[in-house]
Amino acid sequence: MTVMEQRGAYRPTPPPAWQPRTDPAPLLPDALPHRVLGTAAADRADPDLLRRLYAELVRGRRYNAQATALTKQGRLAVYPSSTGQEACEVAAALVLEERDWLFPSYRDTLSAVARGLDPVQALTLLRGDWHTGYDPNEHRVAPLCTPLATQLPHAVGLAHAARLKGDDVVALALVGDGGTSEGDFHEALNFAAVWRAPVVFLVQNNGFAISVPLAKQTAAPSLAHKAVGYGMPGRLVDGNDAAAVHEVLGEAIAHARAGGGPTLVEAVTYRMEAHTNADDDKRYRADAEVEAWRAHDPIALLERELTERGLLDEDGIRAVREDAEAMAADLRERMNQDPVLDPMDLFAHVYARPTTQLQEQEAQLRAELDAEIRHHEDEPDHRDEPDHRDGPDHRDGPEVNAR
C-alpha cells in the first residue's frame, strides 16, 4: 500500500479560522520602473504640466546650488542637497491639491518650496535660527523631519483624521530608502492599510543612506514590493522622469481620494551630491557610478522631450533660467542678512503657559542678558557686580534666615 493510498481518507482543509484575505497579484509592482518621457505615453501628457514641471526642476536645481553655496559661506549650518532628485521633489509638490498635506523628510526642503513655502522660511532649520520657520498649517506642509521615518505615522494619522471628519484630504509622505528600514515605516504602512487611510508614501530610493548602499538596507525584491505585505499596492517609477513620478503619484492620490486606501511608491533616483556638505562620498562610491547617472539627468530628460516636441524653444529655456536666477539672487540677498533673534523665544513655546520653573529660568536669562547689555555699554561699575542673585523662588521671595 502506498502512502497516498493509506491517506486516502485524508482531505486537507485549511485551519478553521483561515480564509484568504486579498489577492496579492494586483498589489505587485511592475517589473521595471514606470517611464513616460521618451515613450509613447509622453504624447498623452499635458504640455502645460510638462512645462510647469520643467520650470520647477530648473528652479529646484538652482535652489539646491544656492543653498549649498550659502552653506560653504557659513550662512547655513548644513544642507542636504536633493540635486539629482528634483523630479521627485517637484512632482510631489505639484501633484497635490491646496487642501492636501505634504510630510517632508529632512532632505525635502525643495518639495516644501515648490509647494509654495517661502524659500528663506524653509531654511531656518538648516540656518539654525528656528527648527520650523513656517506655520505648517499655512501651506499644509508638516515640519521637515529629521528623525527618519517618524513623520510617516503623522501623515497616516492626519489622513485618517481628515477622513473621519469627512474632508477630502490626502497626505503625501516622503521618506528615503534608508528610512524604510525604520520601525516607524513599518508601523505607518500597517496602520495606513488597516485604516484604509488616504495617504501615499513616496520612497526616494537614491541609492544611499549616507554611505550605506541599498543592498545593506534590504533583501526585498524592491522597496515597492514591501507594499504587498501590508495589503496595499506598490508602484515602481523612474524617479528622474518628472512626468512619470507625477503620473504615478497622481494615480495613487486619486485611488486614495476614492477611498481605495494607501499606496507605496518607490521612485528610483540618485543622490548626485554627497549626503551633505559635511560628507565625503569618495569614501564609499565610485565617480563612474555618479557619471552614469548624469546621463539620466531629470532636467535633461524633460528638456529633450519638450524641445523635440516643439513645446519649448531657446527663448523659453532662457526665460526659465532667468526666473531661477532671480529666485537665487533673492534667496542670496535675504539669506545674507543676519536673522533677528530673541533669546526669550527659548521659553515662549514650550507649553501653552510657562511653568513657574520656566518663568524662573526666563527671569534668569533676562537678567543675564541685561548684564550683558550693561557690560557692552562699558560701565566698569557693573563689571564687578557679583553674579549670584537672590534665591530662585521669586514668587515666595528669597529664603530668609529668620528663626
Binding site: 505615522p153 492626519l158 513655546h349 514650550v350 514668587r395
Partner: protein, 334 residues
C-alpha cells in the same frame, strides 16, 4: 432637585467616567489603543465606551505603540484630541521616540503653530504581582522630557479630575495611573464629579507638624498609613500628594516643609536619578534655613523591577518610611 447617593467607586471607574464625559462633551476627543474597544482595556477603564461612541471614536488599534502615538500626532495636527492608552508602563517604551522627538517638541519647534493636545495614559508601578515588564515606575523618563506635563492621581476623585484636565489641556499630558490603585474605592458621586482642577497643584492630604512626607501616586496611601503608625512614636506627619510632577508645585511643597522643618520624599521609582533627587534639591534650595535635617529619600532599590514574589522587599513600605523619619535628627531638637 434630586440628590444622588454617594456610592463607592473605583479609580478605574472614575477614569472611565472621565473618558466618557470628555467623549460626550467634545466630538474631537478620540480614545485609541490596544484592546480599548470590545474588551474595555485590560484594566477595563474604557469599558462600554466603544459601544456608546462607536469604533471611530474609541478605536482598537494595531499592536504598535509608536504607531499608535505617531498616528495620534497626525490626528492632533488635524484638530482632534486623541487620548492614547499604553497597555502597561514597560510597553510604552516603543513609543518613546514619538513622545520625545515629536509629542513633547512639536509646539516648540513650530513656534506654537502646532500644539499637540494629546493625552497619554500609562498604567504604572508595581504591587500587583505582575510578572516581568508589568511594574515599572517610568515617571523619571517623562519628567526629564521638556514639553510634557506629567500627572498621577492617588484618589478616585483626582483620577477623574486630572484625566479631564489632561484631555482639556492644549499641551501633551502623560497621565500615570497607579495600577495598584485601580481597584481602590472611595465615596465618590459619579453624577456630580469634582471640578476639574488645573494641572500643577499639589495637595496636603494630611496635616501634621513634625515632618513632611512628599509623595505621589501609588505611595500616597502608604504614606498616609505610615503617618497613622507614626503617631505611636509621637510624630505628627504631614503628607503632601504632588498629583502633578510636571509642572511641579514648589509653593505647596516648600510651604509644608517650612512649617515642619523636615522632609522625606517617598516613591517606588529607583532613587538614583529618580524624582526624589530633584525634589530634595528643590526643597533644599527653598527651605535650607528651615530644615532641621537633610531631606531623605525612600525609594525603590536601584534594581530592575523584581519578580512578583520579591516585590514587597523592593517597594517602599510603612517600616522603611518610619525608619527614614527616625533618621531626621530629632535628637538635635532636645
Amino acid at each position: 432637585m434630586t440628590t444622588v447617593a454617594v456610592k463607592p467607586a473605583t479609580m478605574a471607574q472614575a477614569l472611565g467616567r472621565a473618558l466618557r464625559d470628555a467623549l460626550a462633551e467634545d466630538p474631537t476627543v478620540h480614545v485609541m489603543g490596544e484592546d480599548v474597544g470590545a474588551l474595555g482595556g485590560v484594566f477595563r477603564v474604557t469599558d462600554g465606551l466603544a459601544k456608546e461612541f462607536g469604533e471611530d471614536r474609541v478605536t482598537d488599534t494595531a499592536l504598535a505603540e509608536a504607531g499608535i502615538l505617531g498616528t495620534a500626532v497626525g490626528m492632533a495636527m488635524y484638530g482632534l484630541r486623541p487620548v492614547v492608552e499604553m497597555q502597561f508602563d514597560a510597553f510604552a517604551y516603543p513609543a518613546f521616540e514619538q513622545l520625545i522627538s515629536h509629542v513633547a517638541k512639536m509646539r516648540n519647534r513650530t513656534r506654537g503653530a502646532t500644539p499637540l493636545p494629546i493625552t497619554v495614559r500609562v498604567p504604572y508601578g508595581g504591587g500587583i504581582g505582575g510578572v516581568e515588564h508589568h511594574s515599572d515606575s517610568s515617571e523619571a523618563y517623562y519628567m526629564a522630557t521638556p514639553g510634557l506635563h506629567v500627572v498621577t492621581p492617588a484618589t478616585v476623585a483626582d483620577a477623574y479630575g486630572l484625566l479631564r484636565a489632561a484631555i482639556a489641556s492644549d499641551d501633551p499630558v502623560v497621565v500615570l495611573e497607579p495600577k495598584r490603585l485601580y481597584w481602590s474605592k472611595d465615596s465618590w458621586n459619579p453624577d456630580e464629579p469634582q471640578a476639574v482642577e488645573p494641572i500643577g497643584r499639589a495637595v496636603v492630604r494630611r496635616r501634621g507638624r513634625s515632618a513632611t512626607l512628599i509623595t505621589y501616586g501609588p505611595s500616597v496611601p502608604v504614606c498616609l498609613e505610615a503617618a497613622e503608625a507614626a503617631r505611636a512614636e509621637g510624630w505628627d506627619l504631614e503628607v503632601v500628594d504632588l498629583r502633578s510632577l510636571v509642572p511641579f508645585d514648589d509653593e505647596t511643597v516648600a510651604a509644608s516643609v517650612r512649617r515642619t522643618g523636615r522632609a522625606v520624599v517617598v516613591h517606588e521609582s529607583g532613587g538614583f536619578g529618580g524624582p526624589g533627587g530633584e525634589i530634595a534639591a528643590r526643597v533644599t534650595e527653598r527651605c535650607f534655613h528651615h530644615l532641621e535635617a537633610p531631606v531623605l529619600r525612600v525609594a525603590g532599590f536601584d534594581i530592575p523591577y523584581p519578580p512578583p514574589m520579591l516585590e514587597r522587599h523592593h517597594l517602599p513600605g510603612v517600616d522603611r518610611i518610619l525608619d527614614a523619619v527616625a533618621r531626621l535628627q530629632w535628637e538635635a531638637q532636645s
